[in-house]
C-alpha cells in the first residue's frame, strides 16, 4: 500500500492504495464519487473522463498513485454555490443527453475544450469530444449543448 494525497474537487483526500488501483476506482470506491462512470474500461469511450491538473484525462487509464499530489476535478466538483456550471446548463437547456451514461465524461471534455478554445466552431466541438462515445443521442444535441455553453461563458467558468 502506498500513501497518496490527491486534491479532489478542492479538498485534499488522503488514502493508502495499492499501486494497481485505478484513479476511477479511487474516485468511485474510496471517495464514493460515483458520477465518474466506467464504460469500456479499455481507454476508448471517455465515460471516465475527469480533469487532472487542468487537462482532461481518462481516469480508467491512470493509476491513483500517478495522480499523487495532483488536483482532480470530477463532475461533482463543477457546480459552484448550488449553481450549475455553464456546460451543465447547456446540457440541461439543449437536451444534451438521453440515458446520461456518457454525460459526466462528455461534460468534462467540453469543459477542457472551452478552456482551450472559448468559442469553438462545430468541427472543433466534434474534435473536442472525439474521445467520448455516446450511444444514444447521435451527438447533435451534445454539440448544441456545448455551443450553448460557449455562448454563456463556459470558457471563462472555473476549472
Amino acid at each position: 500500500m502506498i500513501p497518496v494525497a490527491i486534491t479532489v474537487n478542492g479538498k485534499v483526500r488522503t488514502a493508502h492504495v495499492e499501486p494497481r488501483t485505478l484513479l476511477v476506482h479511487f474516485l468511485r470506491e474510496h471517495l464514493n464519487l460515483t458520477g465518474t462512470h466506467v464504460g469500456c474500461d479499455t481507454s476508448q469511450c471517455g465515460a471516465c473522463t475527469v480533469i487532472v491538473d487542468g487537462r482532461s484525462a481518462k481516469s480508467c487509464t491512470i493509476f491513483a498513485v500517478q495522480a499523487d499530489g495532483s488536483t482532480v476535478t470530477t463532475i461533482e466538483g463543477l457546480a459552484a454555490d448550488g449553481k450549475l456550471h455553464p456546460v451543465q446548463e447547456g446540457f440541461w437547456e439543449e437536451h444534451g443527453l438521453q440515458c446520461g451514461y456518457c454525460t459526466p465524461g462528455m461534460i468534462m471534455s467540453a469543459v477542457n475544450l472551452l478552456q482551450d478554445n472559448p468559442s469553438p466552431d462545430e468541427k472543433q466541438i466534434r474534435e473536442g469530444i472525439a474521445g467520448n462515445f455516446c450511444r444514444c443521442t447521435g451527438y447533435q444535441h451534445i454539440v448544441n449543448a456545448i455551443q450553448h455553453a460557449a455562448k454563456h461563458g463556459g470558457g471563462k467558468a472555473a476549472r
Binding site: R20, D41, Q66, G131
Partner: protein
Amino acid sequence: MIPVAFDYQRATSVDDAIAKLTASGGKAIAGGHSLVPLMKLRLSEPGTLVDISKIPGLSGVKEAGGKIEIGATTTHAEIAGSKLLRDKCPILAEAAAEIGDPQVRNRGTIGGSLAHADPASDLPAVAIALDADIQIKGRSGARTVKAAAFFRGFYDVDLAAGELIVAVHVTPVRSAAYAKLHQRASHYAIVGAAVALDVKGGVIQSARVGLTGATTHAIRLAGVEKALAGKKADGVAAAVASAAGEAGDLNADLHASADYRKAMIPVFVKRAVERALARG
C-alpha cells in the same frame, strides 16, 4: 480489469530513474497510455513501475543551436500546441494533433510513443522523415541513435534494459507534412506517411520519407526518396508509385487487409508530398 500487483516508485531525476530501473528490473511509465491498457489486459506484467512523468526538466520544446529539442515526457498536446513547432516544424505539431483524442494527447508522450513503437503509431514515421536524433541515457552513459535505425521490428527498438529516451532532436523543416488514413475509433494509423522535402523553385532537391501503420515497424522509404529527387509537383504520382512495393510485407488485421494497405500507401505518400510542397 485489474492488472497484476506491482510496486510503484517515482523518479526525481533521469539518473534516479535509471538507478531505480536497474535495481528493480522494472519498466518506466510516462503517460501510461500504451502501458496501462496492456497491464489491464495482463499482456504486460512489470514487477515495478518507475514513474518518469514528473522528472523536472524532462518535458518541453526548446530551440538550441538551430535544432529543436523535445523532452521525452513532452505530451502530444504540448507538441500540438507548441508555437515554435507550428512555425518552424509544423509536421510534428500536425501529427501530434492527430493522435487519438484530446484525453490521449493530454497524457501520452513522445518518448513513450517512440519507445513503445506500436506499428500503428504516428510519431515514429515523423521522426524518420525528420531524421531525428533520439537521445538515450543509461547506466553506461549517453548515446544518440538516428530514428531510422532506432525502430528494428515489431515493438522492437534499440533500447537496452534500464535505458531511457531523454529527448528527441530535430533540424526543423518547414516543407514537411504527415498524411494518415486513420482507424475511425482509435485514430491509430492504418497507413501514415511522413515526408520532409528540400525544395528550390518548385523542384524537389531531396526527400525523406517515413511510413507507419503498414509494416511491423515504421520504416524509411529510400527508393521513393530517390525517385522524388528532381521532381516537380507533376512528377510526384509517378515517383511514389513504387512505395508499397518497397515497403515489402504488409500488415493485415481487422482494420484493413494487406491489399487495402497496398492500395493506400501511394495515395497517402502522395498526399504528404503534395502538402509538404504546398508549404514550400
